[in-house]
């Protein structure tokens, strides 16, 4: 790696950065050097320390040790304003935009051009238009943020950085919210910006994207730096191995399973949304025994509401939900659970766990009232513990104090394992899994995929709702695409391609287009 270099080669250098949080070293002696005009990927699993490192660069945290150099000179970054002054900009994973402002107003917010205290929008508009043309970032300056697509919102965020003449651009998992086509477009834009001399830090855990667009890649694992490698000469498998610290399989074997009778039949289902529009609109589909049906769509197109309606957490406006032939559209959650419906909820902190209960109580959340765990209204705590110990063993749930650990203090992956253990333990007929691997590292993800396939093999019906196309292709037998509350396509998994799904997900194909 070390070849002779002059002082001007690196625009930003973070040298020997160490950052401690109580009980954990998030960054351990990490060095990252960003060349001018390169796209530098930062790769690592969740919890590897990527976000901490970037937060230090952006002035959100102070490092405990280490130096930051810009153009060879040491700098102090105490807050995001310092970072801005140094030309460092960041597109956050969750956009920071004012929804009732226009695109133009959002871009200039904080650096408005004024004359005697009166806004001068003319010059600002010219600059924004010029920038958007130069970099191929199509935006409508006068539309409200609330009226534009997520993809355009992201372009607004990028323009915000460019408008401030930032030279160092940090992208924090920018592709998580985009369709395949939009990802394609973003890659081109990033390449274009790098060619214009901007330096880009690209945080991701998606290896194909790194391969496609990055020049170099720094890999972090458990707070330590593994290596910085040139992307062109490194294979995806090698990067993956560096990331997880072991060889890993990318595909799981999927056995042929014959379809049984339909378990879930949704017929013309409508669910009211927050506004007048239906969040779920006339949706119909079946899920059979031994089948994984996957609903894909860009976040916020009604898939969450659909799952909540089936699970009984949201009211059905019209239409019906049949479970094993029985109409459960108006049934209570308890009735549905007792009939054999299990639910891995989208938001594990809100629905999935009582964070201030310990693990054994959380594992009993769905069956504390069952005869095996209670006697005349008194909970049989030895039995609750026995059940917890059995599930901890079987599903390899790791925690500091076993069954007594507070759910709050467990890691995200183990919290999710606990939920999955509980739901599978109920021996359901239908399992609704909503983004079951969100925020989990590769190891936990593989584990959960295997569990879902195991359930399929046992003849359970599975309704999977996912935003990750990789996951969808790995697991599903049938794919339904949801767009603005409507099912716009229904495909067998073998007939689907990312490009095709992308078109449906963006609404540019299908009945509503």
């Amino acid at each position: 790696m070390c070849k002779g270099r002059n002082m001007g080669e690196y625009i930003i250098e973070m040298l020997n950065i160490t950052k401690d949080f109580p009980g954990i070293r998030a960054n351990d002696n990490i060095s990252l050097q960003l060349k001018k005009g390169e796209i530098h990927a930062l790769l690592g699993e969740n919890g590897a320390g990527k976000s901490t490192l970037m937060s230090i660069l952006f002035g959100l945290y102070k490092p405990d040790a280490g130096r930051i150099l810009k153009n060879g000179k040491e700098v102090n970054i105490n807050d995001p304003n310092d970072a801005n002054r140094l030309g460092i900009g960041m597109v956050h994973q969750h956009f920071k935009l004012v929804h009732n402002f226009t695109v133009l107003e959002n871009i200039i917010l904080g650096v408005e051009t004024t004359e005697r205290g009166v806004l001068k929008m003319g010059a600002a508009r010219d600059k924004v238009v010029e920038l958007s043309e130069r970099y191929g970032l199509k935006v409508e300056p006068d539309l409200l943020i609330s009226d534009i697509t997520v993809g355009m919102q992201q372009r607004v965020e990028i323009l915000k950085m460019l408008y401030r003449d930032n030279e160092i651009l940090i992208f924090d998992e920018p592709t998580a919210v985009l369709t395949p086509q939009e990802i394609e477009e973003l890659m081109l834009v990033m390449r274009g910006m790098a060619d214009e001399g901007k330096s880009i830090l690209f945080i991701t855990h998606k290896l194909e994207e790194i391969k496609k667009v990055a020049d170099r890649c720094t890999v972090l694992r458990k707070g330590k730096m593994v290596a910085t490698v040139p992307v062109a000469t490194t294979t995806v498998e090698e990067m993956a191995e560096m990331m997880v610290g072991r060889k890993m399989r990318f595909t799981i074997d999927k056995d042929e399973v014959s379809l049984g009778k339909p378990v879930l039949s949704v017929d013309n289902l409508c669910v009211k949304g927050a506004h007048e529009k239906n969040a779920v609109n006339n949706v119909s589909f079946d899920v059979h025994e031994g089948e994984i049906v996957c609903i894909v769509g860009i976040d916020g197109n009604g898939q969450s509401e659909l799952a909540y309606a089936i699970a009984g957490l949201m009211d059905v406006a019209s239409g019906s939900i049949k479970f094993m032939g029985e109409d459960i559209s108006r049934a209570t959650v308890r009735t549905r659970n007792d009939l054999g419906l299990a639910h891995i909820p989208e938001d594990r902190y809100k629905y999935g766990l009582v964070l201030d209960f310990d693990l054994q109580q959380n594992l009993a959340l769905k069956n504390y009232y069952a005869p095996e765990l209670q006697n005349r209204g008194f909970i049989n705590y030895p039995a609750v513990r026995e059940q917890a110990d059995m599930l901890i063993e079987k599903f390899d749930i790791r925690s500091a104090q076993g069954a007594d650990t507070m759910a709050r203090s467990m890691s995200g992956g183990n919290q999710q394992k606990a939920i999955i253990a509980r739901e599978i333990n109920a021996d359901p007929k239908l399992l609704i899994a909503v983004q079951p691997t969100r925020g989990l590292d590769v190891g936990a993800m593989m584990y959960i995929h295997e569990q879902l396939l195991q359930q399929r093999k046992e003849g359970k019906a599975i309704l999977l709702i996912s935003l990750e196309l990789d996951e969808v292709f790995q697991l599903s037998d049938r794919i339904l695409v949801i767009y603005e509350g409507n099912i716009v396509a229904q495909l067998a998994a073998k007939d689907a391609t990312p490009q095709l799904l992308g078109l449906y997900m963006a609404g540019s194909k299908g009945e509503s287009a």
Binding site: F21, P22, G23, I24, A26, N46, G47, A48, G49, S51, T52, A311, L313, T332, V333, R334, T335, R336, N337, H343, P345, K350, Y351, G352, L353, V354, L355, D356, F357, Q361, L365, K366, Y368, Y369, Q374, G377, F378, I379, Y381, S399, A400, R408, S409, M410, S411, G412, Q415
Partner: protein, 375 residues
């Protein structure tokens, strides 16, 4: 060893709140009359012990109603609700038990006080349940409806007393004496808590009420921690979404929990106003019963734990009794109210304080998991 440490850690916010409150009271005494401040502090800390066994009995006597209102507030807390209506529930319960105590003399002696107490409990239960019903079916914030029901309760009780022939003592503008059979028995406690003045036994007011209150606290503890019902209530309190997801009937949990909270306050009123020999009297005046609000202090100080609440109530009663003796040092007894107020105030910061203690004791391990998930 680890268990003791954990326990100490969990009660540390209360201990800090108490120390800070007492210290602040000491400073106030220093400012108002520096010469006696130190002896004043001793008097406060000695509490009931200032006057021997009778004083100790008085502490138990004053603790009785606030154990129950503390349980009332603490129980609702556990279910995620703030029962600020203990005062109204208490006075409604008091009236019901006084009514039975005066009028239902047809009951046999040993049953009379029990029925009177249970009717008071029932009345408080209805009053608390109203709050729960409003919240469950009309989504009315329980704080607002409970505050309004406090006033409705107080004025309603005043009206009922004045319009009743049997209950109203027109000369003293208060309720009449209850029948001797309706007074709570002393259960032998008068043979323990008394001072001898010559040959005369100066007996404390303590009665079987304190035993009932402690037993009720233990029952509530079992209900919360051993039963499916308690599990559901706590799940609702910690995370109502997760309890919906688990299929818990949330409305039922809200209504029942407020009904039980109301019953506890109603029982507090009954035990207070059925004290021997002839009951306390409800004065017809426009004041909300302070025992209801002291229940909030007790619940906060006891960290809403039923057993913790017993000790918190004993402590509050202890310094209240101590405050009575402060006057001999020419201090106002209101200093005690200031101290109790400050203790509530500090208890409200309990979480913050716990974190300070955590950092001080370098118990950092607990955080590791959270940080990891957040990185």
């Amino acid at each position: 060893m680890n268990k003791i440490k954990k326990w100490l850690l969990s009660i540390s916010p209360s201990l800090i709140a108490i120390l800070s409150g007492v210290f602040a009271g000491f400073i106030i005494m220093l400012i108002s009359n520096p010469a006696n401040a130190f002896s004043g502090l001793i008097v406060i800390l000695k509490g009931g012990w200032n006057s021997g066994m009778k004083g100790v009995g008085q502490v138990l006597y004053f603790a009785t109603p606030i154990i129950l209102t503390g349980l009332s507030v603490g129980f609702a807390f556990k279910t995620g609700m703030f029962n600020i209506g203990a005062s109204g529930q208490l006075v409604v319960g008091a009236l019901a038990s006084i009514y039975v105590g005066i009028n239902w003399t047809f009951l046999p002696g040993h049953l009379h006080w029990i029925v009177a107490m249970l009717m008071g409990t029932l009345a408080g239960m209805v009053w608390g349940m109203l709050v729960g019903l409003l919240k469950a079916y009309r989504n009315v914030n329980e704080v607002i409806s409970a505050i309004m029901l406090n006033y409705i309760g107080m004025y309603g009780v005043n009206y009922l007393i004045k319009s009743s022939n049997s209950m109203y003592d027109i000369l003293r503008n208060q309720t009449a004496n209850v029948a001797a059979s309706a007074a709570i028995p002393k259960a032998g406690l008068d043979n323990i808590f008394y001072n001898l003045i010559g040959k005369f036994k100066d007996v404390s007011s303590v009665n079987a009420g304190i035993i009932i209150a402690v037993v009720v606290a233990i029952i509530i503890h079992i209900l919360l921690n051993r039963t499916t019902f308690g599990y559901e209530l706590k799940a609702c309190g910690h995370n109502r979404y997760a309890s919906q997801y688990a299929g818990v009937n949330e409305n039922r949990a809200i209504i029942l929990s407020m009904a039980i909270a109301g019953a506890l306050s109603g029982m507090a009123g009954a035990l207070m106003f059925l004290a021997p020999p002839s009951g306390m009297h409800i004065h017809v005046q426009e004041v909300l019963a302070p025992q209801g609000f002291n229940g909030i202090a007790v619940a906060l100080l006891g960290l809403s734990h039923p057993i913790g609440i017993i000790f918190a109530a004993l402590f509050i009663a202890h310094i209240t009794v101590g405050g009575g003796y402060l006057q001999s040092l020419r201090y106002m007894r209101e200093i005690i109210d200031i101290i109790i107020g400050l203790i509530i105030y500090f208890s409200a910061f309990s979480l913050l304080m716990r974190n300070i203690v955590l950092r001080a004791t370098r118990k950092r391990k607990q955080y590791a998991g959270e940080e990891e998930a957040g990185v």
